[in-house]
Each structure stands twice: as structure tokens, then as C-alpha cells.
């Protein structure tokens, strides 16, 4: 009963969500009695791949080549399918990401597997195979049984913490050829922020709303983010007004984040915004209106004017080590 886990890089290192998925997959493997194998698509520094053994991987398959370096959903799907067939995977674990969202269905369909996304916990294997998943954008949970021979699951962000167990894994290269259908979607241009922390991967997110009055004041938020080593997000009106790029917009219709710490500044806490942040471990709200609905969803709050509070908070954060 082999388990296959897909890992992704953020450009310089393997993403935390992928490390969490490897640990998770290793736990699933020990539950169902098998080995945890990893599939990595693209070129990785060798030591990053062998280090996955430390999170419980027994072996690593690596697919490289021109078509496997552009974050192409079709190429990634083809690689995962080939790897699943090679290791005879019964469970395929995919860490939630925008790329995974764009190819997970294909993997499941080709493997004739049942698929469940947004899984938040280890499977219950006491009677069949069932998982807990988040539904209604984090407002509820459901348990779902997967009855197919092969099972595909997408692990929700920050739902399972990876742990280092010691060990290394051997890396083997796998050759995969693409079919004609895999090359029908052509990428003509990529615009990616460089050197920025990925919002969906960050352990701390500081987010700003309409309370900032205008993009010229965003430096206050960026300074705090820098002092805390945090990624930045925003509310929908902020990205609608182009104060910030669309990919920073958090909520029901934007990015869903689940960091350890979410600090919301000058955001009222509309239910659609909360839907994108309610899986965060700890929520801090800074708002001048004590009646702002966000305080009801918060763990810690400061009632105050952000233009006064933020500079002080940033100064205090700089003193942390």
C-alpha cells in the first residue's frame, strides 16, 4: 500500500506546505502499511530532495526536462500519474496550492481515483478510508469516505504540521513523456513577484483594509510585515481599487490563508473576508471602531487609530529577536 506525495518549490526551497504533506503522507503510509514515496517535478538542489527523508520519505522520484520546469499543470499531472503508476500508489497526497488546484482533478480522473480536497486531518482507516475536510469556506467540516481503490487527497494549508524524524531518502530520476493533449495550453508570459514571501505559505500574514485611506499609506503595513517577517494581504476593496495587486486579496472570493498569526489592520471583518482567514491559528485585529465585527472573530484586539498604533507596534517588533 504505497503512498505518493507531490512536493513543490517556492523557487529557492521546498515549500513548508510540501514538507507538511510529506510528514502527513508518511503517517498515512504507516497507517495503511506501506512506504511514502515523493514525486518532485522540475530541477531541485539534490540536498533538498534527500532531506525529505528527514520528514519521512522513503524514496524520491524526480522528473526533469524542459517541459517540466514551467509550473505547467498538464506536465505536473502527467508526472504525478506516471509516478503513481510506477510505485503502485494507493493514496496520492497533494499539498494545496494554485498549481495543485489546476491539476488535481486530472490526476484523480486518470487514476480512476476518488478525490477529496481541503482535507484537514489524518484519514480514519479503522473502517475503510475516510477523511475530514473543510467545507463552506471554512465555516464547517464534513467527513467523507473514499471507496475507490486509489485515493487522491489535497491537504489544506497549515492543517497538519510536518515534523522531522531523521533519515535520508534516495533520489531516482523518472522519465515522463507528454501526450499531445498535455501541450495544448501554451504559456506566453509569466509575471511573478520575486523576493516576496508567498502569502499562502507564510506563517505570519499582516493584512490591510480600507482603513488605510489610500495606497500611499501602505508603507506602514509593509514596515510591520518586514519587522515580523510576514507576508502582506488586503481586503477586496483594496485590490478592487488597485491599491494592491489582486493576488493579495484575501477572503471568500480571493486567497484563503491559514497562517499561525493573522493581523488585520483597518479591516471591518465582513463575513466574506472572514471566510478567507477563519482557519488561522491566531487572529489579531487593529481597528478604531470598537464595534467592528472582526473583533468577534479575533483572539487579540487593539481599539485604536492605525496611523498611531502601527508605527509603535513596528518599533516594538523590531526589538524582538
Amino acid at each position: 500500500m504505497s503512498v505518493l506525495i507531490y512536493v513543490e518549490s517556492n523557487g529557492s526551497e521546498i515549500k513548508k506546505s510540501s514538507l507538511d504533506a510529506v510528514s502527513y503522507g508518511a503517517q498515512v503510509a504507516s497507517k495503511v502499511g506501506g512506504a511514502a514515496n515523493v514525486i518532485a517535478v522540475g530541477t531541485f538542489p539534490q540536498e533538498q530532495l534527500t532531506a525529505l527523508g528527514n520528514f519521512g520519505a522513503a524514496s524520491i522520484l524526480n522528473v526533469t526536462g524542459d517541459s517540466f520546469n514551467q509550473n505547467s499543470p498538464a506536465a505536473s499531472a502527467a508526472a504525478v500519474i506516471a509516478a503513481a503508476n510506477k510505485v503502485g500508489a494507493k493514496v496520492v497526497v497533494l499539498p494545496k496550492s494554485t498549481l495543485v488546484d489546476s491539476f488535481a482533478a486530472k490526476v484523480a480522473a486518470q487514476l480512476k481515483a476518488g478525490i477529496v480536497t481541503n482535507v484537514t486531518d489524518l484519514p480514519d482507516t479503522s473502517n475503510g478510508f475516510s477523511v475530514k475536510r473543510s467545507i463552506f469556506t471554512g465555516k464547517a467540516f464534513a467527513t467523507v469516505a473514499i471507496n475507490s481503490n486509489i485515493k487522491v487527497i489535497t491537504l489544506a494549508k497549515n492543517a497538519y504540521q510536518g515534523t522531522e524524524t531523521g533519515g535520508t531518502a534516495a533520489v531516482e530520476s523518472l522519465t515522463v513523456s507528454l501526450s499531445e493533449g498535455d501541450t495544448k495550453v501554451k504559456t506566453t508570459n509569466v509575471e511573478k513577484m520575486s523576493g516576496e514571501l508567498l502569502l499562502t505559505e507564510a506563517e505570519i500574514v499582516v493584512s490591510g483594509g480600507r482603513g488605510f485611506k489610500g495606497p500611499e499609506n501602505w508603507g506602514l503595513l509593509l514596515d510591520l510585515a518586514k519587522a515580523l517577517g510576514a507576508a502582506t494581504g488586503c481586503s477586496k476593496p483594496v485590490s478592487d481599487m488597485d491599491w494592491r495587486p489582486h493576488h493579495e486579496h484575501v477572503g471568500q472570493t480571493g486567497v484563503k490563508v491559514a497562517p499561525n498569526l493573522y493581523i488585520a489592520v483597518g479591516i471591518s471583518g465582513a463575513i466574506q473576508h472572514l471566510a478567507g482567514v477563519n482557519s488561522s491559528k491566531c487572529i489579531v485585529v487593529i481597528n478604531k471602531d470598537p464595534e467592528a465585527p472582526f473583533f468577534k472573530a479575533a483572539d487579540y484586539g487593539i481599539v485604536g487609530d492605525l496611523f498611531e498604533v502601527l508605527p509603535k507596534l513596528t518599533e516594538a517588533a523590531k526589538l524582538l529577536k
Binding site: N71, A74, L99, D101, S102, A105, K106, A108, A109, A113, G114, I115, V116, T117, N118, I135, F136, T137, G138, K139, A140, F141, A142, T143, V144, A145, N147, G181, K184, V185, K186, T187, T188, V190, E191, M193, L198, L199, E201, I204, L228, D240, H246, H247, T253, Q272, C282, V284, F295, A298, D299, Y300, I302, V303, D305, E308, V309, L313, A316, L320
Partner: protein
């Protein structure tokens, strides 16, 4: 150009989610077209205005979803199909949609990036695979020139431009189009537009929903004095242990 838009009938984004007898409690809940699906529909109507053709909306649901389907007709779809089955999960829904789309000759199938009830994010990819055509998600811009679509797809920390020849399936999100408010003429004409009801096909479904639950309630919010924000950091480090 024949466009198919698949829409969900989901609780309004402000709804309180509760369950009764292990089923979603719809009492007092307002239902809407899924927000992402409505972006897809709005763009489909714009594409029709530019290129001619038809927009068909499709929903897998029981008769209760018909007001939502009529709203899509009022927004500008030409006709509608309702597959008469309670949507059980993405795999079931995709099999139903694929069965209808196989013979429909659609040039483009637009969906939302995900439904806001089940958040599967899967139906577009599963339908595309069943039809043997590409699926692209999440897209934020879609233009068609000479049978080729030029799109912008969101990627982590940015966006990419992609091209694909028709037909394909796409999962849409903002800002692909502005939501359209139906006008009086649209609402009147929606009443008489064709809504075909189709019976579902049998599906050997691999996934079975069991029990539903709600997250644990949040404790009280601890307030920190605005004059001393440093205290907040102390609490985050020592009490919440998140710094």
C-alpha cells in the same frame, strides 16, 4: 459560438451555516448563483455580445434551484438545462455535466473556480478530462480571437498569460468580468426562455459524504491598550506562542 456555463445554487455569502439531522439547514437561507460562477456567466454574456452565438446555463440540482437558474437567464443566458439530481459531490456533478456536454457541441465551457458550498475546485478539471479537452483555472481574463483564447491565469504570487485553442473548460474568478444586474427586460424574458430538465445518468461514485460538524466556537477577544502595542507582542509570544 456555443458557450456552456455551469452554475451552482449556493447559500448567500453572508449565510450562517448550520446543520439539522446531518443535512445543511436551509431554513431562512437566501440562495444565490455561486459568485465565481456569476463571473463566468457575466463573461460568457459579454463574449456572446462580441462574437455572436448562444449561452446555455446548466445546473445539477433539484427543482428548488430553478429561481437561481431563472436569474442566470435574466442576466443574459439564452436557455438553460437542469439535470434533475441533488449534487452529491464534485465527481457526481462532473459525470452529469460531461454526459450532457458530450453531445452539446460547446466551443467553450465556463465554470467558477470553485463552488462556495463544497469548495471542491474539481468539477471543471473532471469534466475536461471526461471530454478529453484541456482545463484551465483560475482565469482572470479571457478574450477570443480566431478560435484561440488568450487568458490570464492566477499563479502563486503573480499571473501568467496562456493561450489555448477552443474547445476547453475554464474555472473563472474576478476580475474576468463585472457582475451584471439583470434589467427589467431581462427579468421579463427570463420567464419564457427554455429550461430543459434532464434526468441524471447513473454514476458509480467513489466518494461518500458522512457527517457534518462546525468549528469550535472562538473564545473571547483579549483587548490590549492602544497606548502600549508592545504588550500585544508579549502576549503573542508568551501566551499564544505564535511569534
Amino acid at each position: 459560438m456555443k458557450i456552456l456555463v455551469c452554475i451552482t445554487h449556493v447559500p448567500d455569502t453572508t449565510s450562517k451555516i448550520t446543520f439539522a439531522n446531518n443535512a445543511f439547514n436551509a431554513a431562512g437561507v437566501q440562495f444565490i448563483i455561486g459568485p465565481y460562477d456569476e463571473y463566468a456567466l457575466s463573461r460568457a454574456v459579454e463574449l456572446k455580445e462580441q462574437h455572436g452565438g448562444t449561452v446555455t446555463v446548466l445546473n445539477v440540482g433539484d427543482a428548488e434551484t430553478e429561481p437561481t437558474i431563472r436569474k442566470a437567464l435574466a442576466i443574459g443566458a439564452d436557455d438553460a438545462i437542469r439535470i434533475n439530481a441533488v449534487p452529491k459531490d464534485s465527481g457526481f456533478v462532473a459525470a452529469q455535466i460531461a454526459a450532457v456536454a458530450k453531445t452539446g457541441g460547446y466551443d467553450l465551457i465556463l465554470m467558477g473556480r470553485e463552488s462556495i458550498d463544497y469548495n471542491g475546485g474539481l468539477v471543471h478539471g473532471l469534466v475536461a478530462d471526461a471530454l478529453g479537452i484541456p482545463s484551465i483555472t483560475p482565469i482572470m481574463k479571457l478574450d477570443i480571437e480566431g478560435g484561440v483564447a488568450k487568458m490570464t491565469r492566477e499563479i502563486e504570487g503573480g499571473k501568467e498569460s496562456v493561450e489555448c485553442a477552443l474547445p476547453f473548460v475554464a474555472g473563472c474568478q474576478e476580475p474576468i468580468a463585472e457582475w451584471k444586474i439583470p434589467n427589467m427586460r431581462g427579468i421579463m424574458s427570463a420567464r419564457t426562455k427554455t429550461l430543459n430538465v434532464v434526468e441524471p445518468v447513473a454514476v458509480n461514485d467513489a466518494v461518500l459524504y458522512g457527517t457534518f460538524s462546525l468549528p469550535a466556537p472562538k473564545g473571547a477577544c483579549k483587548m490590549v491598550d492602544a497606548a502600549n502595542p508592545g504588550e500585544l507582542l508579549t502576549l503573542l509570544r508568551n501566551e499564544a506562542k505564535v511569534l
